[in-house]
């Protein structure tokens, strides 16, 4: 590793640790630890949401996919963005009004029971861990490629950093690391895209004609159909992308870190602008890579295309710019995994330990200690998993996370908030159906059952790579049928009225008590 790289990485590590040190002083109560005492402004929270959401898979992956597949790579990005409309219209404000620290709070304010809290905690935990492990594995491979340091060392560095942020700085540190990441990522990639344009005399037409020379696809590069062949597969993927975000616990708990619903909406407005602009920048970088480096050379470095952005930086600005982009990718990774650690921690230490095991009877101090220990263990276990999975391709778990979220959390959230006849049995059946359907279809699908190098070497029982189009309806259907065929308690009418009015107006919750 040369000195430029070392200085950039040191700078980022020192900056984030200073944030953590400052945050640690303000993480003395559970309120501060879990939701940063609701102190973020809408714009800050919007930046944190973007920081939580844009993973290294989006940044490096989409630049690479665009460079290799052209238009279809860009199609991915659209789903990631449009999904925020569902969050804004249906989910965000009720969550803010009903939740204290977790999604479990939201559902349990309508169905108060330990069973329900278990279900929500397990769901949040599974989704966060499933998402975290591929991020860590990808991070390890990436840092190894970029810096030429050992896979295990890079996983250990990222694993310990994310654990330190959350254990000592809780939601404060996580949020501010994410905000810093968003600023660095957006400004760095924007700068890079300007340099790309400057190489083509600021002319889009010139860029396009160079792209056509750089790719073996020629004119076909700008047409759909290079990545997604089967229509069913395409639709299934899009369904999961557009519905998945609204079920991701680490994004949804971010609506609890602001003061009121006005700030919730501002968060989402900010986030949608940042995420949208960011994906347009990745498109430019993808095109720039093909135009300036060419397909052959990109593939020669790394067949997945994930190194497109760093290679482009190297081509445009030499070692210095490449070190800068590598450091940005590193920040991107740590910010996302820190968000996942805190969401898994909340699910365990708040929902399971505080509410279920201790029945709400512990002191603040004990709760904080439990949360810190949980964060430590979550960080440790995921790091160990990531170390063990180094030779196994786990990237498909990222898209799986969206399917699991859309088929288990989303139906339960939507029905709980809006459907009068929904029952607790329905909620639990919906969660279980969604989880099992998406996991089973994945195991029997071509990701795992593959004659050529799959975990199970035989023909898949289920043909689709993206089981969303089957799994998501199963989740909704399970929740619906479970409610229709169960006998809700008689008092449910007045309970629902109270719940619904609270969810819609926020009467007598957080904001008004103060």
């Amino acid at each position: 590793m040369n000195i430029t790289y070392f200085l950039f990485f040191l700078c980022i590590i020192v900056c984030t640790l200073i944030i953590t040190y400052w945050a640690a002083k303000q993480s003395k109560t559970t309120n501060q630890f879990y939701i940063a005492a609701g102190s973020l402004t809408g714009v800050q929270n919007g930046m944190a949401i973007a920081g939580d959401y844009i993973s290294a898979a989006s940044f490096l992956g989409i630049v690479g996919t665009v460079a290799i597949n052209g238009f279809d790579g860009f199609l991915y990005a659209i789903g990631f963005l449009v999904s925020y409309l569902i969050v804004l219209f249906f989910i965000a404000e009720p969550i803010h009004r009903l939740g204290t620290y977790s999604l479990g709070d939201v559902i349990c304010s309508r169905f108060p029971s330990y069973k329900m809290r278990w279900m929500m905690a397990i769901g949040a935990f599974i989704i966060s861990i499933l998402y975290m492990i591929p991020q860590l594995v990808a991070a390890g491979l990436l840092i190894r490629l970029l810096l030429d340091i050992d896979y295990s060392t890079s996983v250990l560095i990222i694993g310990s950093l994310m654990t330190i942020y959350v254990v000592f700085g809780g939601m404060f540190a996580t949020s501010w690391v994410q905000i810093v990441k968003t600023v660095v990522l957006l400004s760095g990639t924007f700068l890079l895209s300007l340099i790309v344009f400057s190489h083509f005399d600021w002319s889009i037409a010139e860029l396009i004609s160079q792209v056509k020379l750089g790719t073996p696809l020629g004119d076909q590069f700008f047409m759909p159909g290079n990545l997604f062949g089967s229509p069913l597969e395409t639709l299934s993927l899009h369904l999961a992308l557009v519905l998945g975000t609204a079920g991701l616990p680490h994004i949804l708990i971010r609506f609890l870190t602001v003061r009121n619903t006005l700030e919730v909406r501002r968060s989402l407005l900010t986030a949608s602008w940042i995420i949208g602009i960011f994906y347009i920048i990745t498109l430019v970088l993808g095109l720039g890579t093909v135009a300036l480096i060419g397909y052959q050379e990109l593939i020669a470095h790394d067949p997945t295309g994930n190194l497109a952005a760093p290679l482009l930086a190297n081509e445009l600005g030499g070692d210095f710019l490449m070190a800068f982009i590598a450091a940005i990718s590193f920040t991107t990774i740590v910010a996302v995994v820190a968000g996942l650690v805190i969401s898994a921690t909340t699910a365990f230490s708040y929902d399971i330990y505080y509410h279920i095991i201790k029945k709400g009877q512990t002191t603040e101090k004990q709760q904080i200690r439990a949360a810190q220990w949980t964060a430590f263990v979550v960080g440790l276990i995921s790091t160990l998993f990531a170390l063990g999975l180094r030779n196994i391709n786990v990237t498909f778990l990222v898209s799986l996370t969206f399917i699991v979220a859309a088929s288990s959390n989303l139906p339960v959230l939507l029905f709980t908030i809006y459907w009068k006849r929904f029952t607790q049995t329905g909620a639990i059946i919906g969660m279980v159906c969604g989880l099992t359907a998406s996991l089973t279809l994945l195991i029997f699908g071509p990701h795992i059952m593959n004659p050529n190098g799959g975990w199970i070497a035989r023909e898949p029982f289920f043909p689709l790579h993206n089981p969303g189009i089957i799994a998501i309806p199963i989740g909704f259907l399970g929740a619906y049928l479970g409610s229709i065929f169960s006998n809700g308690p008689k008092s449910s009418n007045s309970d629902f009225r109270r719940f619904f009015i609270k969810a819609q107006t926020g009467i007598d919750t957080k904001e008004d008590i103060q």
């Binding site: 309120n31 449009v82 759909p224 229509p231």
Partner: protein
């Protein structure tokens, strides 16, 4: 910071609120109607608009014809998705200010009413 997760406080204040009355009040009904009138058509619109893109690119090729210079319709449609998301988000945030006003009125009415009675 007030203690947000104190269950007892919440239950006690709950009893002071007449939820039946709120539900039947004209203002609450109007709020629900206004929200529905705003959200339902827009949701149908954005879902149709969004899924049109993968459906049209999967089953047809007419979007591949050039629209402006070298740029084909499919790219314009893709960028239109970005614009749509930003426009709808902004519209909702603007509109929600009026929902907030309606909500405040409902809450105010409830609290004042109770104050007058006791």
């Amino acid at each position: 910071m007030s203690n947000v997760n104190d269950y007892k406080t919440e239950e006690q204040t709950d009893d002071k609120i007449d939820f039946v009355k709120i539900e039947q009040s004209e203002k609450f009904q109007r709020l629900m109607n206004d929200r529905k009138k705003f959200i339902v058509p827009l949701t149908i619109f954005f879902l149709v608009f969004y899924f049109m893109l993968p459906i049209l690119t999967s089953y047809t090729t007419f979007l591949n014809t050039p629209a402006i210079g070298d740029i084909s319709w499919v790219w314009l449609f893709a960028f239109a998705q970005f614009v749509m998301t930003w426009v709808l988000c902004t519209l909702y945030v603007k509109k929600a200010a009026s929902f907030d006003r309606q909500t405040d009125e409902i809450i105010d009415e409830q609290i004042n009413n109770k104050g007058g009675n006791s």
